[in-house]
């Protein structure tokens, strides 16, 4: 097997979550949740347009979404939405220089000041809040 330069791995290298810690996992989840939410948003715009077909058209489409599978997909959407929001606020704060530490001379072992415990807590909080929101969404949808 040839020893491939990690910078030439393409999409496979970009989405590999096993290296570089939880920050890379957050990077990957941010993009996946973003793409998922965009797909849901487009679907939601189409879904709501069925109201123009009148009550029959609306109810027909509603029957498709008000199933166990539909509720499960919506629960995943809720989780993606919460993660994307909380992690997005963390990223915004980081870009604004908040919580990234002070500039210092790069000494061995070159630990990045920006990848500190505050941002790690932010990432784990986003994951936990997403899970809680998903559970709450499932309770609301299946509780009725």
């Amino acid at each position: 097997m040839t020893n491939q330069d990690e910078h030439k791995e393409g999409i496979g290298g970009m989405i590999n979550p096993r290296r570089y810690g939880v920050e890379r996992v957050a990077y990957l989840l941010m993009r996946l949740s973003g793409l998922g939410l965009l797909a849901y948003f487009i679907g939601h715009i189409y879904e709501t347009s069925t109201i123009l077909k009148g009550q029959v058209g609306w109810n027909e489409f509603l029957e498709l979404t008000q199933t166990n599978a539909g509720h499960a997909i919506l629960a995943i959407v809720i989780a993606m939405c919460v993660f994307h929001t909380v992690n997005g606020i963390r990223v915004m704060l980081g870009h604004g220089g908040i919580g990234v530490g002070k500039p210092a001379r790069p000494d061995y072992p070159y630990t990045p000041a920006s990848q500190n415990i505050r941002h790690k807590i932010g990432i784990y909080s986003a994951i936990i809040l997403a899970a809680i929101a998903m559970m709450y969404g499932l309770t609301v949808m299946f509780g009725e």
Partner: protein
């Protein structure tokens, strides 16, 4: 447009959308999730002008934020003058198309043209 300005728009649309989508979801929960999706309830929501206006603003904010996010992801994957132009203009066309399609629903239901 400079990328720094585009990112400010990206973050601005995100923060505004978070607040408005929260109101949109709370409307579903205060009415009861299943009841709020009934035909008459949805029509009443659309006919309430402030709420219809809020839906229109959410549509614009999320279209811009969503397709700019897609643009950023696609530009991370591959670079090149022609590719970047194609992605950027493609996303602008998609934003306009989605806003027009969504606005059509809001305007037609709000004004009773259905």
């Amino acid at each position: 447009m400079r990328e720094s300005i585009i990112m400010k728009i990206h973050y601005g649309t995100a923060l505004a959308a978070v607040a408005l989508v929260a109101v949109h979801i709370l409307m579903r929960l205060t009415q009861g999730f299943a009841e709020s999706l009934q035909y008459d309830s949805v029509i009443t929501n659309y006919k309430f002008l402030p709420y219809a206006g809020m839906l229109e603003i959410i549509l614009i904010l999320l279209s811009i934020h969503g397709f700019n996010g897609l643009r950023v992801i696609l530009l991370e994957l591959k670079q090149g003058r022609a590719y970047e132009k194609a992605v950027s203009y493609g996303c602008i066309v998609a934003i306009i198309a989605l806003i027009v399609y969504g606005s059509r629903t809001i305007i037609m239901v709000n004004t009773g043209m259905m």
